[in-house]
Amino acid sequence: MNILKLLLLEDQPEEASEITAFLSTNGYSVTPVKNIQEAEKEIKNHLFDIIILDIMINGKPDGIRLAQNMAKQDITIPFLFLTSMQSKYIFEEAKLTHPSTYLLKPYNELELLFSLELAIEAHYKQSNTISFDSDSAVLGPTYIFIKKSKSVMKVVVDSINYIEVKEKYCNLICTEGNFLIKLSLIKVKELLSNPIFIQVHRNFLVNVQKVKEIYFKDNLIILDSKDKIPFSERYKASFMKMNNILG
């Protein structure tokens, strides 16, 4: 389980240090930058999980400009605008860059944390998950985002043992616990598109790295975690072919 890396574009030093201090104590690794050049350099050199952009930087709407530049370079990192302006016009302008959400100044600490959750949810199109209840998680292509007390943490997808269909959505079982993903299994498979996850049953997706034993005759897979997964005939052939197992 890792903390999220956050880039903060804020030209006011007082506010920047306030946010940095607060978020650091709430489980975020914050990199504050003062202008668009610094921000672009940081984005180039590091992988950030989320970005907070103040719209007005030194009197210019550079926050919007940075968002536009990111879109041009196909950088898809969830970002949110931080603004004191509640005017519709600046919002219309900002809206065109498709931010994950907005955070209006003045804001309190809860609102800041909530907005970060919203940003992650919106970015992966899984709204009302981590912000709604602690049993939910947001699934990304490489990380699972889970709520840990007040903050959001990320877990690499490799740590997933298996994914099971639960009604409309999916249950994700990993070392860190069980989480509800508000996506269908088909969508989950699509999102992961990772060869270590293989469908073994209509309702199950298994991380092959976590498989301990396979009982072909009993149609059963036993994982390291001792979880028993049903193995359906339909998926056996492709499974064996992919893993070079001789039946």
């Binding site: 509640q86 005017s87 519709k88 016009y89 919002f91 907005y102 209006l104 309190n108 600490e109 809860l110 609102e111 909530f114 709204s127 009302n128 912000s131 709604f132 209840d133």
Partner: protein, 572 residues
């Protein structure tokens, strides 16, 4: 000097004069024709015959030719030959006439007519010998010939003899003709007498000729025909000259000249009349042309009027369109004016809020700061703390007020960013309550939040927070120290959730409460400060309404106030 001879050839026409004999040749012909026509119903024949009877010889000639092609009966052929022959004579086609008449069969009914016609044609062709031959043949069998034809035949025969200079015969036949002439028929009488006189005169029988000439002259004098007068007078002049009675001759010549003049006059008059007629026609034509021109002009006028009318209609339509456009514009202007009035009212309201509600807290702050100055000088730390706390409270309230002014003005000018989405209700409440924790602690008020179940609410989160902030702020403001404010949330019904803010404050008087209750129907153009309701509540009502929610307030004076907000639950 030779006397002028009138070569008057009587041509037999189909005039009926059937007093003497019940059946003359012509009548027989008519009867036969009718019979054939009734029997055969041959169209061309009937037509030809009809045209013959009505003396339309052109058509008769043509239709009889057609009829020839269809007929084979001798009788019909005879009739057709006869009528076509007569038509040919009329059209001066003598050779054709000769053919037709010669082709007539020797039937008794046609014998005398055939001879008569042949004689006539020969006379017209100046074959006098042959004419005499045929006439003589006819005379031997002339019982069935009508009187008029007979008379004409005698005349023609006499004429033939005259040409042959056989005066005795000529005299005989003219005399015969004279006998047949009705004494009332002056023209015939004069002509025949002249012919007879000519016969005598040519034989130098002046004693017999001259009385006849004189008689003819005298008869002509009583008669109106100028041509006859001219002729008889000239004959008299020639006769008198020949017997050397020059004085009389000259008189006759003078008279002749007079008649000639009158004839010329008559011709002239006729010509003049003709010219007049032509002139009249020309005039008429001119009139017609004029009329045409007028008609044309009228047509033109009509067209002009039509086009004018059309233009008028178009113009009217255009005017109507412009008028409507203007009306629409006016309506828009009125609407805009109303909007402007509303905005202006809002502005006035905000000004009044700014000037009154902001003035007093800032004034308080100023006083607090002055107080602090003295307290700092006195180094009275306890007093400083108290004053500062008051200042913080005032600042806090003023800040809220300014926020409300901002939101209200943004909302009124439709500039507030507003987007309804599904949000976790408890999180929004927690975020809002978070701001009041410090204040509640300072006032020793217990701020409880109990969230029933996780609920997703359909709302614009910023506007809901503004509402919650206002209500919680009010609750804290009107709840005395050590009081309790309880915030709960839960499901109201299948489509709505509820947020309740219950305080143990001073409560609101029934009077003000009723005013608050009417706020639901308050529109932005009916902002009335005299109602005693602050901007905050008006803003709350407006925003909750915009979120499709309901704001309810219940209070009991001295016991506290309960505010309920109903909002739609998001569909998941």
């Amino acid at each position: 000097m030779r006397v002028f001879v009138i070569l008057y050839i009587a041509i037999v026409t189909n005039t009926i004069s059937s007093q003497e004999f019940p059946k003359t040749d012509i009548e027989i012909l008519y009867t036969k024709g009718k019979r054939v026509c009734d029997r055969s119903k041959a169209n061309s024949f009937c037509k030809a015959f009809l045209f013959y009877k009505t003396k339309v010889y052109d058509s008769c000639y043509i239709y009889s030719s057609k009829a020839f092609l269809k007929t084979s009966s001798q009788e019909e052929k005879d009739i057709l030959n006869y009528i076509q022959g007569v038509s040919a004579i009329e059209k001066k086609l003598f050779k054709k006439a000769l053919q037709n008449i010669t082709a007539l069969s020797g039937h008794n009914d046609f014998m005398s007519l055939k001879n008569l016609k042949l004689a006539e044609i020969n006379l017209l062709l100046k074959n006098y010998d042959k004419a005499i031959l045929y006439y003589t043949a006819w005379e031997n069998n002339s019982a069935t010939t009508p009187k008029k034809l007979k008379k004409d035949a005698y005349h023609n025969l006499g004429l033939s003899y005259l040409h042959k200079k056989e005066y005795t015969n000529a005299h005989n036949y003219f005399s015969k003709e004279l006998k047949l002439i009705n004494s009332k028929d002056t023209i015939e009488l004069i002509t025949t007498k002249m012919d007879l006189a000519n016969v005598y005169y040519n034989q130098y029988k002046d004693d017999e000729a001259i009385p006849l000439f004189t008689e003819a002259y005298q008869l002509a004098q009583t008669f109106s025909d100028i041509d006859l007068k001219l002729l008889t007078t000239k004959n008299m002049a020639v006769v008198e000259k020949n017997r050397k009675k020059y004085k009389e001759s000259v008189d006759y010549y003078i008279e002749y000249g007079k008649w000639k003049d009158s004839l010329w006059n008559r011709d002239k008059i006729w010509e003049l009349t003709e010219r007049d007629k032509q002139f009249a026609i020309a005039q008429k034509e001119q009139k017609i042309a004029l009329q045409d021109e007028r008609l044309k002009r009228q047509q033109l006028q009509k067209n002009g009027l039509l086009i004018g009318g059309l233009f008028l209609i178009l113009f009217t339509l255009l005017l109507g369109y412009l008028y409507r456009q203007k009306a629409t514009k006016n309506k828009l202007i009125t609407q805009q004016k109303e909007e402007l009035n509303t905005v202006n009212a809002t502005k006035d309201y905000l000004f009044s809020v700014v000037s009154h509600d902001l003035r007093s807290p800032i004034h308080t702050l100023r006083k607090q700061h002055q107080k602090l100055m003295t307290q700092i000088a006195q180094k009275d730390l306890l007093a400083i703390e108290k004053t500062t706390n008051t200042a913080i409270t005032v600042t806090e309230n003023t800040y809220n007020l300014v926020n409300n002014i901002l939101h209200w003005s943004l909302e009124q000018s439709d500039q507030l960013f507003f987007k309804k989405e599904a949000y976790p209700l408890q999180s929004l409440i927690a975020q809002t309550v978070n701001d009041f924790k410090g204040l509640a602690v300072a006032k020793q008020i217990t701020l409880l939040t109990s969230i029933d179940t996780p609920i997703l609410v359909e709302t614009d989160k910023e506007s809901l927070k503004i509402v919650l902030r206002n209500i919680i702020d009010n609750a804290i403001k009107y709840t005395p120290e050590r009081g309790t404010i309880h915030i709960t949330s839960g499901v109201h019904n299948t489509s709505q959730c509820v947020i309740a803010i219950v305080d143990t404050g001073v409560g609101i008087s029934a009077e003000i409460l009723s005013k608050i209750k009417t706020l639901g129907s308050i529109t932005k153009d009916r902002v009335d400060r005299s109602a005693g309701i602050g901007l905050g509540l008006i803003l709350c009502h407006t925003l909750i309404k915009k979120n499709n929610g309901i704001l309810e307030m219940n209070s009991e004076l001295g016991l506290g106030t309960t505010t309920k907000i109903l909002l739609p639950i998001a569909n998941t």
